[in-house]
C-alpha cells in the first residue's frame, strides 16, 4: 500500500503519548522487581533440618562452588554429618545440578536474584531455609522426575520360592555381576554409612571396587575393618543401610549384598591377596583370646596383623561361636562361615577347641602364660521365662536348639527331636530363626508344619526384621502379635499348649517393662513343645567372685574403657556381646578396638 505522505505526518508520532510505555516503571525495577518464573534458578535455599551434610552437591558441582563447611553449634545427629554446604557466588553458574542430585530433598533454588555488595565475602554464604538476605523468598527451581540424577530403586535379588521351607537351602541367591555393577553405581560415596557402622567399614571404597571390578582392592578394603566378610555380607544388621543417603528419597543401596557379591565372586587369589595383605610374620608377643565368636575372631585376626601370636580358646568342638552354632543355615551357609574362619586360620591364628576356660583351664593360667587375654565369650545361655510349667522337659531353648540344628546339618549330630506341633515364645530375630528352623525340620520329618509364635509386641513394634516376618509368613508360620504367654498347660505329663492373653500395653506409665493384659481375650496355642527365644544372657564361669564384684555392671555386662580394657586388670580386655549386648558387627568392632588397645598397652607397658 502506498500512503501519501503529508507534511503533518511527523505529528503522528504524538499518538505514543496515549499509549502505555514499553519502559518499566521505576518502582517495578527498584521496589518490586518482576517475580521470577516458577523454575527460576536464583539463590539457593537449604532446609537445614533435612540436610544430612552428605556432600553430594559439593561433589557434583562443575565449578567447585560448593564447599562443605563445619557449622558451629550444630548438634550432631545419627546419620548426619556435621557439615553443611556453603555456596560461593564467585563460582556458581546456577546450573542446578546440586538440586537435582540432593539426596535429602533439602536443597532448592529460590526466586531471589538480586544481591549487590561492596564486600566480596558476602557472596560466600551458607544457605538455610530463608534466602541470602534472611527473608522469605518463594521457591524457584526444584528437581522433577526428568532432572532426577539418583537411581532410587534397588536392584532386585532372586530368591528361593516358598517351597524352600522343606530344606535349609540359602534363600537369597546373591547378585550377578551386572546387577552388582548397577547397584554399586547407585552409591554417591558420601560416607555417612562409614560413620554409622560400628566397625566403621570403608563402605564407599569397597563399593567403588565393585564398580571398578577390582576384587582384590574390594577384599582389602573389607578386611581393613572386618575379617568376617562372608558372615557380615549375609547376616549383618546393616545399620549402614538405615542411614544411607539414598534412603531419604528411595531405597538404600544394598550395601550388605554388595559385600556378599565381593566375597562370593572374588577369585581364590584375589581373596587371599586382599584378606592377608596386612598380616605380618613378625611376632612381638603372645595373646590368648577366650571365645571364638565374632569379637574373638576379629580380635585374633587384627592381633595377627599387628604381629602377635594368638591362641583362641573355644569350648565347643568347632570355632565360630554364634556364627557356627547360632545363625540358621538358610541365611548363613556353613561354607561361608568356613571361608571366614579358614582365612583367619591362614593368617596364623591358632584355635584350641573343646577347651572351656574356667573349667578345663583357668583364667589365672592364661594370665601367667600370655602377655594379655581377651574375653569374647558372648551371650551363650538362653534366658528362661518362668511361667507355670516352664520346668517341663519339652520346654526347649533357642541357643541349644539352633546349635543342634547346625550340628545335624553338618552331619555332626542326630536330627533334633521335633514334634508335629510347636509353639515359639519371642518376637526377635532369634525367635524367627527358631520358628523357621522348626518349620523346615517338621516338613522334613512329617511333610507338614505347624508352628505358632507368641509375640508380646504388636506388629508395628516387632523387634525382628520386616523381611523375617514376610518370609516366615510365606513359609506358613502362624504369628500371634500382642499375645503374652501366661502358662504352659500340661495334661498327663505331656504339654498340650501355651495359654496366651492379649496384651494391652507392654510398658507402664513410668516406662518400665510391665505388661498389662486384656483378660477377656485369651487363647491356647496348641503344641506339644514350647521353645523359648526371649533373649540370651552371658555366662561368667571363668570369673572368680572378686572379679565378678569388680567388673560386672548392673545389666550383667562387663565394664570396660574405650579400647576394651578392664579396669583393675590391665592385662584383661573384653569385647562383643558381654560389653555391648548381642550384635555381630558390634562384636567385630569391639574385637578390632581391643586388638589395637592390647597392642598399645603392650607397647607402652613399662
Amino acid at each position: 500500500m502506498n500512503r501519501t505522505k503529508s507534511m503533518f505526518s511527523p505529528i503522528r508520532a504524538w499518538e505514543y503519548l496515549f499509549r502505555e510505555p514499553v519502559t518499566l516503571h521505576k518502582k517495578d525495577v527498584f521496589v518490586n522487581p518482576r517475580e521470577a518464573s516458577d523454575r527460576y534458578r536464583g539463590f539457593h535455599q537449604n532446609d537445614l533440618s533435612l540436610c544430612i551434610g552428605c556432600g553430594t552437591c559439593s561433589e557434583i558441582c562443575p565449578t567447585d562452588a560448593i564447599s562443605m563447611v563445619a557449622v558451629e553449634g550444630l548438634i550432631h545427629e545419627e546419620g548426619k554429618k556435621d557439615e553443611r554446604p556453603a555456596f560461593d557466588y564467585g563460582r556458581c553458574s546456577f546450573c542446578g545440578l546440586c538440586v537435582d542430585i540432593c539426596t535429602s530433598d533439602s536443597l532448592c533454588m529460590s526466586k531471589e536474584y538480586i544481591h549487590l555488595s561492596q564486600d566480596p565475602d558476602s557472596f560466600f554464604y551458607l544457605p538455610d531455609a530463608s534466602g541470602i538476605h534472611e527473608k522469605e523468598a518463594d521457591k524457584g527451581y526444584q528437581r522433577d522426575e526428568v532432572s532426577e540424577l539418583l537411581d532410587l530403586v534397588r536392584q532386585k535379588m532372586d530368591q528361593e520360592d516358598p517351597s524352600r521351607k522343606s530344606s535349609f537351602v540359602e534363600i537369597m541367591k546373591g547378585y550377578s555381576k551386572k546387577e552388582a555393577l548397577e547397584e554399586a553405581a547407585r552409591c554417591v560415596a558420601c560416607g555417612i554409612c562409614t560413620d554409622t557402622c560400628p566397625a566403621n567399614m570403608n563402605i564407599p571404597e569397597y563399593i567403588r571396587a565393585v564398580f571398578d571390578d577390582d576384587m582384590e582392592e574390594g577384599m582389602r578394603q573389607i578386611y581393613k575393618t572386618n575379617p568376617l566378610a562372608n558372615v557380615c555380607g549375609r547376616i549383618c544388621t546393616h545399620k549402614c543401610e538405615e542411614v544411607c543417603a539414598i534412603s531419604h528419597r528411595g531405597e538404600p543401596v544394598a550395601i550388605r549384598w554388595l559385600k556378599r557379591y565381593l566375597v562370593d565372586h572374588a577369585s581364590e587369589e584375589d581373596y587371599e591377596a586382599g584378606a592377608l595383605s596386612s598380616v605380618t610374620a613378625f611376632v612381638q608377643g603372645k595373646v590368648a583370646v577366650v571365645g571364638s565368636g565374632p569379637s574373638g575372631l576379629s580380635c585374633a585376626y587384627y592381633l595377627r596383623t599387628l604381629g602377635y601370636e594368638v591362641s583362641v580358646y573355644e569350648s565347643q568342638a568347632l570355632p565360630g561361636g554364634v556364627i557356627r552354632y547360632g545363625g540358621p543355615e538358610y541365611r548363613l551357609p556353613e561354607a561361608s562361615v568356613l571361608k571366614d574362619i579358614s582365612m583367619i586360620e591362614k593368617a596364623g591364628v591358632q584355635f584350641i577347641c573343646n577347651t572351656k576356660v574356667g573349667v578345663d583351664i583357668t583364667l589365672e593360667t592364661l594370665h601367667a602364660e600370655y602377655d594379655a587375654v581377651f574375653l569374647g565369650t558372648g551371650f551363650s545361655l538362653s534366658r528362661p521365662l518362668k511361667i507355670p510349667g516352664y520346668e517341663h522337659p519339652d520346654v526347649l531353648y533357642a541357643i541349644p536348639f539352633l546349635a543342634s540344628v547346625r550340628d545335624y546339618l553338618r552331619d555332626m549330630g542326630p536330627i533334633p527331636v521335633v514334634d508335629q506341633k510347636a509353639v515359639v515364645i519371642g518376637g526377635g530375630n532369634v525367635a524367627f530363626d527358631v520358628a523357621r528352623s522348626l518349620v523346615r525340620l517338621q516338613e522334613k520329618l512329617y511333610g507338614t508344619s505347624c508352628v505358632h509364635m507368641a509375640i508380646l509386641e504388636s506388629r508395628d513394634q516387632m523387634l525382628a526384621d520386616a523381611e523375617e516376618l514376610e518370609e516366615g509368613l510365606e513359609e506358613g508360620l502362624q504369628v500371634h502379635f500382642a499375645y503374652g504367654p501366661q502358662s504352659i498347660s500340661i495334661v498327663d505329663d505331656r504339654i498340650k499348649g501355651l495359654h496366651v492373653t492379649k496384651v494391652q500395653s507392654i510398658f507402664d506409665a513410668e516406662g518400665r517393662f510391665n505388661p498389662s493384659y486384656d483378660q477377656t481375650d485369651q487363647k491356647v496355642l496348641e503344641g506339644t513343645q514350647v521353645y523359648m527365644a526371649i533373649g540370651q544372657m552371658p555366662e561368667y564361669a571363668y570369673l572368680n567372685d572378686e572379679m565378678r564384684d569388680r567388673v560386672l555392671t548392673k545389666r550383667g555386662l562387663i565394664a570396660v574403657t574405650d579400647g576394651g580394657q578392664i579396669e583393675g586388670y590391665p592385662w584383661l580386655f573384653a569385647g562383643g556381646d558381654i560389653v555391648r549386648g548381642p550384635d555381630i558387627i558390634n562384636g567385630v568392632a569391639t574385637g578390632h578396638q581391643a586388638a589395637k588397645a592390647i597392642d598399645l598397652w603392650l607397647q607402652t607397658k613399662p
Binding site: 563447611v69 563445619a70 557449622v71 558451629e72 556453603a86 560461593d88 565475602d121 560466600f124 554464604y125 551458607l126
Partner: protein
C-alpha cells in the same frame, strides 16, 4: 550420487590412488592421507574445485602418541565438505605449510602452532603469537597440560575467611 560427485572422487582415485569415504553428515566426505602426501593432495583438491579452506585444526590423540591435523575444505559448486586428515608424530610435530595453496591458512597455522605446538615448515609467520600473549608454558590444548595447576599458580583465588554458626553467619577478620 550425481555424476559430478563421482567425478572428483574418481579423478582423485585415478590421480593419487586415494579414496574419499562418505562422512556422517550429508554432502560430507572424509579423506585420510599420509603426512607426506597431504600437501600435494590438498593442492590437487584445490584444483579439483575445493576452493575454500573452512578450517584447519588439530586433535591430540595422546594415548596413540599422535597429533591429527584436520583440514575442512568446501566445494562451492557441489556444496560438498571434505575433511582431510593427516597424522603427525606427537614427539616431533612437523608439517609443510599450506599457505602457498590456501593463503588464508596462515592464521590457522599460527593458531595450531600456538595451542598444539605443530611446526609449519616453509611459513615465515606461523610462530607469530595470535591469541595468547606472553605464553610461558607448554601449548595449552595439549592433553598433558594441566590448566587447573597453571591457573592456581598464576591467578590468585579468593579464600573465604568465614566461620558459620548455626543460623548465623559471621565474618572473622
Amino acid at each position: 550420487m550425481t555424476n559430478s560427485t563421482n567425478n572428483w572422487i574418481e579423478c582423485l582415485k585415478k590421480e593419487t590412488g586415494l579414496e574419499a569415504k562418505e562422512g556422517t553428515a550429508s554432502l560430507q566426505y572424509v579423506l585420510d592421507v599420509d603426512k607426506q602426501e597431504a600437501h600435494q593432495t590438498l593442492a590437487y583438491l584445490k584444483r579439483a574445485g575445493f576452493g575454500q579452506l573452512s578450517l584447519l585444526t588439530c586433535i591430540d590423540w595422546i594415548e596413540q602418541g599422535t597429533f591429527q591435523l584436520i583440514f575442512i575444505l568446501m566445494h562451492w559448486e557441489l556444496g560438498h565438505h571434505l575433511i582431510v586428515r593427516a597424522l603427525l608424530d606427537r614427539e616431533n610435530p612437523e608439517f609443510t605449510t599450506i599457505t602457498d595453496i590456501y593463503p588464508g591458512a596462515a592464521y590457522y597455522e599460527r593458531e595450531v602452532y600456538e595451542f598444539f605446538g605443530v611446526h609449519f615448515r616453509g611459513s615465515a609467520v606461523y610462530q607469530k603469537p595470535l591469541f595468547l600473549e606472553r605464553w610461558d608454558d607448554m601449548p595449552p590444548l595439549r592433553k598433558d597440560f594441566d590448566p587447573q595447576a597453571y591457573s592456581d599458580g598464576k591467578f590468585p583465588k579468593r579464600e573465604h575467611p568465614h566461620v558459620f554458626k548455626a543460623n548465623v553467619v559471621e565474618v572473622t577478620e
